[in-house]
């Protein structure tokens, strides 16, 4: 996954999309690798207008790249055909340093890949794993792992004859809360005369795109 990618991503949780904290996602424990892509000045020049520079600076800084210019480099418009690598052929001091800035950006944006690590939402704290270069944005309900959203766990000990009223109570609660809350329980039988214990989980329904 190229570093540039994160400039186009946000948290997959629908409720986070309106929060400014969900962009950019923050890299954590990132392992990087370099690929080799031929430098193409006009390609890079056309990518630059797409980049949210403030977000990119945050990303670069988190990954330990501290030499990113504080302002987006201004693009020197070629007066001739776009395909002419005019910047490279010039000799004046400012343009040479401009070329160095552009080449460094090329390396960082297009050649640097995140191979392992996580991306974290600044709003909900959800961590998206990156494994072998592929980030996983599937949300917990997809994963069948609800733990990040569990709010309450409690255990009820019930007499045998109360089992039925307990399940009535639970299902009425579930109805009350349906929408943004989920309720679930697991039943343990302790013995013919000792009744049951019920472990109850209450968790927020993950908010996804519908």
């Amino acid at each position: 996954m190229k570093i540039l990618t994160v400039n186009f991503l946000t948290c997959a949780v629908k409720a986070c999309k309106t929060s400014s904290l969900s962009f950019p996602l923050h890299f954590k424990d990132a392992e990087l690798e370099q690929s080799d892509i031929e430098y193409n000045a006009s390609f890079l020049r056309n990518i630059l207008p797409r980049i949210d520079w403030e977000a990119f600076k945050i990303t670069a800084n988190e990954l330990g790249f501290t030499t990113v210019p504080s302002e987006k480099p201004t693009i020197s418009a070629p007066t001739t055909d776009l395909s002419t690598p005019d910047i490279v052929n010039t000799t004046s001091h400012t343009e040479v340093s401009h070329d160095k800035v552009m080449r460094d950006l090329h390396t960082l944006l297009l050649e640097t890949e995140v191979r392992e690590g996580k991306m974290v939402c600044g709003n909900c704290g959800h961590e998206y794993r990156i494994k072998e270069g592929i980030a996983n944005f599937l949300l917990p309900s997809h994963l069948g792992e609800l733990s990040p959203f569990i709010l309450v766990i409690f255990t009820l000990h019930l007499r045998l004859d109360l089992q039925e009223s307990a399940s009535c109570l639970l299902s009425s609660q579930a109805n009350l809360w349906k929408g943004s809350w989920l309720i679930g329980c697991s039943l343990t039988e302790h013995g013919p005369s000792e009744g049951y214990s019920v472990k109850v989980h209450v968790w927020r329904r993950p908010q996804m795109e519908h």
């Binding site: 990618t5 990518i47 776009l82 297009l110 996983n136």
Partner: protein, 266 residues
């Protein structure tokens, strides 16, 4: 004819194999009418050769990229299709194996183009394992391509998560692997009632996803998806949006008859 990207490395036991629908997308996107449309829409610079800040690199997103054959075709032949090669590409799929396959298909196809013309192909940014376009920011997608699960089925299968590389090899756990593979393939076919449930979820977010100036989407539908009704619905989005049927194939009477609609701003 632009060459079709190689997908010989794709494991078709668990990833949707390029089929009639995929090839219809390739034919449509490379047709004279569509390349003309796309070239005009994404023109990189004005005729005078002036650099134009308002026409940056197009961002292409394929939702449910599967084998990656369509995304690879568009990215590797960017110059032929868009009239410019500075295209940046993203692919998503719920199937992690498909994400891996797409990455390889696109990379190989771009490499093949570069052997002929060093600046002829775009760049793949990433493939992401995701539900539709859930992690993609609003308003940044210039070209969205979607070959959805469109086969009518009682319901859209719930996604079960199977982690590749769990150390459980095929020989140790054949039946489980077969079940996993079937599930992954089923996700690529089953579209729920009228085969349209997954497409509908994408359509709901499409006006937000697409770029306000250049946003364009190509969506494949089959006859049972009732393409006419879908196009009518898009017209209801307002005057800023247009929709047209731009490609079709298949049996005339059978439900497999396929259609591609183009939805665009302006």
């Amino acid at each position: 004819m632009l060459p079709t990207p190689s997908t010989s490395h794709v494991d078709t036991n668990r990833i949707y194999e390029p089929a009639e629908d995929s090839f219809l997308l390739l034919d449509t996107l490379s047709s004279e009418a569509e390349t003309r449309f796309l070239t005009q829409r994404f023109a990189g610079h004005q005729p005078t050769g002036h650099y134009d800040d308002s026409h940056p690199s197009p961002l292409v997103l394929e939702v449910g990229s599967g084998s990656g054959v369509v995304l690879a075709f568009v990215t590797a032949h960017a110059h032929a299709i868009f009239g410019r090669a500075d295209v940046i590409a993203l692919g998503t799929d719920v199937n992690t194996f498909a994400c891996e396959a797409t990455k390889q298909t696109v990379t190989q196809a771009c490499q093949a183009t570069k052997e002929e013309d060093v600046d002829g192909a775009g760049i793949l940014l990433a493939t992401l394992s995701a539900d539709l376009a859930s992690p993609i920011r609003d308003g940044i997608t210039d070209l969205l391509i979607f070959n959805p699960p469109y086969v009518p089925s009682p319901a859209v299968p719930e996604l079960k998560y199977f982690k590749p590389g769990t150390g459980i090899t095929d020989t140790e756990c054949t039946s489980r692997t077969f079940e996993e593979d079937s599930h992954l393939l089923q996700l690529s076919y089953d579209g729920g009632v009228d085969g349209i449930e997954v497409t509908n979820r994408l359509l709901e977010r499409l006006p937000d996803l697409l770029n306000l100036a250049r946003g364009t989407a190509y969506i494949l539908l089959c006859a049972q998806n009732k393409p006419g009704e879908i196009m009518q619905r898009v017209r209801g989005w307002g005057d800023a949006w247009s929709v047209a049927a731009v490609g079709h194939s298949g049996k005339k009477a059978g439900w497999e008859k396929l259609q591609i609609i183009r939805i665009w701003r302006g």
